[in-house]
């Protein structure tokens, strides 16, 4: 079903630079949260089960909040509108980076992505805290407080695996070598990004956020003796992980996350829960 179905109430124009920015922010969180939830019940320890389940809940709710900002304060039916945005779009209308949709794979891969993504998320939220758009800036400042716990968890495991002996260190290294090139897809511009930057909605373009991110993760990798996995400054995401910001996605999304995530919504249009 389409996002303009009668059950969803009025949806705003999703093609403006502001709308696209908010979809990028929300979709990254939604899909990351959905993948984090795949550790619920099967994480290696009860504490990690709680951690990934909580992170999933946080990220999906952060997406919810960004969708609410997109709908605006005067929207007549916020819950229906959020569901329409989060669950009612076709796969090619989602603007998250492809790295977010990759399956959990193993615990090392999930931790490597968690670290790379949350290090990025905090850099972007810090920039958005200075947005010219009051609603965006307020939410970014609120979410920054909460991301501290995700970052602490991600950094803890980064250090623990890096210093945990030969096998954990090797597995972290191999996972980072797969994750970091694909993570460059996070920094691709979305359609209309120049206008969003000019208007101060996004105070720094994704290309600039990449420089800030690389400085932080590069420093941590060097300190851990894993500096060889940091992609070169002029590297781009491999072709199979590029284009997410323009709505191009892999089968990991179109045939896996998307059908699973939207199954109930598509089966029972207009349901409330």
């Amino acid at each position: 079903m389409s996002a303009t179905d009668a059950t969803t109430g009025h949806l705003p124009d999703l093609t403006t630079p502001r709308a696209r920015l908010l979809l990028v922010l929300a979709d990254d969180e939604l899909v990351s949260g959905h993948r984090a939830s795949h550790w619920t019940g099967v994480a290696p320890s009860l504490e990690e089960d709680l951690a990934f389940s909580t992170i999933a809940q946080d990220e999906i709710n952060h997406a919810d909040v960004w969708y609410q900002v997109l709908l605006g304060e005067d929207h007549t039916d916020v819950r229906a509108g959020v569901d329409a945005l989060g669950l009612g779009r076709e796969p090619d209308a989602y603007l998250h980076a492809i790295v977010c949709e990759r399956p959990p794979t193993d615990f090392a891969f999930s931790l490597a992505r968690h670290w790379a993504y949350d290090r990025f998320d905090v850099v972007r939220l810090a920039a958005l805290a200075e947005s010219s758009d009051a609603a965006i800036a307020a939410v970014a400042r609120k979410l920054l407080h909460e991301e501290r716990y995700h970052l602490e968890h991600a950094d803890h495991w980064f250090g623990r695996l890096a210093n945990g002996g030969d096998e954990p260190r090797q597995r972290l290294h191999d996972a980072l070598a797969r994750v970091l090139p694909e993570a460059l897809g996070l920094f691709e511009p979305f359609e209309g990004e120049d206008a969003a930057v000019d208007a101060g909605l996004l105070p720094a373009p994704h290309a600039e956020l990449r420089v800030r991110w690389a400085e932080i993760v590069g420093g941590m990798l060097d300190e851990a003796g894993l500096g060889d996995v940091l992609p070169a400054a002029d590297a781009t995401a491999p072709v199979e992980a590029a284009g997410g910001r323009l709505g191009r996605h892999s089968a990991d999304f179109t045939d896996d996350v998307w059908p699973e995530m939207t199954a109930l919504y598509r089966a029972h249009p207009g349901s409330r829960w």
């Binding site: 946080d58 709710n61 909040v65 407080h145 602490e152 968890h153």
Partner: protein
């Protein structure tokens, strides 16, 4: 007919709103938690209430909204009740009042801020999954010992983490700081 607003007592509305219990922490009210930001009774009897969510993703917010609407609707002269959650200003734990802190402690949840224990001494064994010294050490809510560790940053709700008291060997929860 008299104007509706003359029949609605704004102080009574505030007491009703502030008295709503947190569904996940029934020992404390949203007033004690400092979640009530603004409250206004319009001339037509419509009540506008602005609340600050603790965590943005708190699943209890919808229940809180429903409970607030129910509590205010029960008052004389009230027309429509509109609840809005806002993020600016951001809720912080220093909004929890003294009663709320004490109730949390009685409930077995170490409140944020207040008395802060000294950093844990070196050489104490940690549980295998302990994430090490907490950046915000808390005294045990049961025996008041400072000899506690944080076992996990993630607990039963987004706003609580898991601690352990080495003194009385009791696990407890702490309300997160930000």
């Amino acid at each position: 007919m008299t104007d509706a607003a003359t029949q609605v007592d704004a102080d009574e509305v505030r007491r009703a709103v502030e008295g709503v219990a947190d569904p996940e922490l029934p020992a404390v009210t949203i007033g004690m938690l400092g979640m009530v930001h603004h409250l206004e009774v319009a001339p037509d009897g419509t009540v506008h209430i602005e609340l600050l969510p603790t965590f943005s993703g708190c699943p209890a917010t919808e229940m809180i909204e429903r409970d607030v609407v129910t509590a205010v609707h029960a008052l004389d002269g009230v027309g429509e009740v509109r609840v809005r959650f806002r993020f600016d200003p951001a809720w912080t734990p220093d909004r929890i009042d003294a009663t709320g802190r004490e109730r949390l402690r009685e409930f077995g949840i170490a409140p944020p801020g207040g008395a802060v224990a000294s950093p844990r001494p070196e050489g104490r064994p940690t549980l295998p999954l302990a994430i090490g010294p907490a950046s915000d050490p808390r005294p045990c809510p049961y025996c008041d010992s400072d000899n506690t560790v944080r076992e996990s940053s993630f607990g039963p709700t987004p706003c609580r983490d898991l601690r352990f008291c080495e003194q009385c060997q009791q696990p407890f929860e702490a309300f997160k700081t930000f």
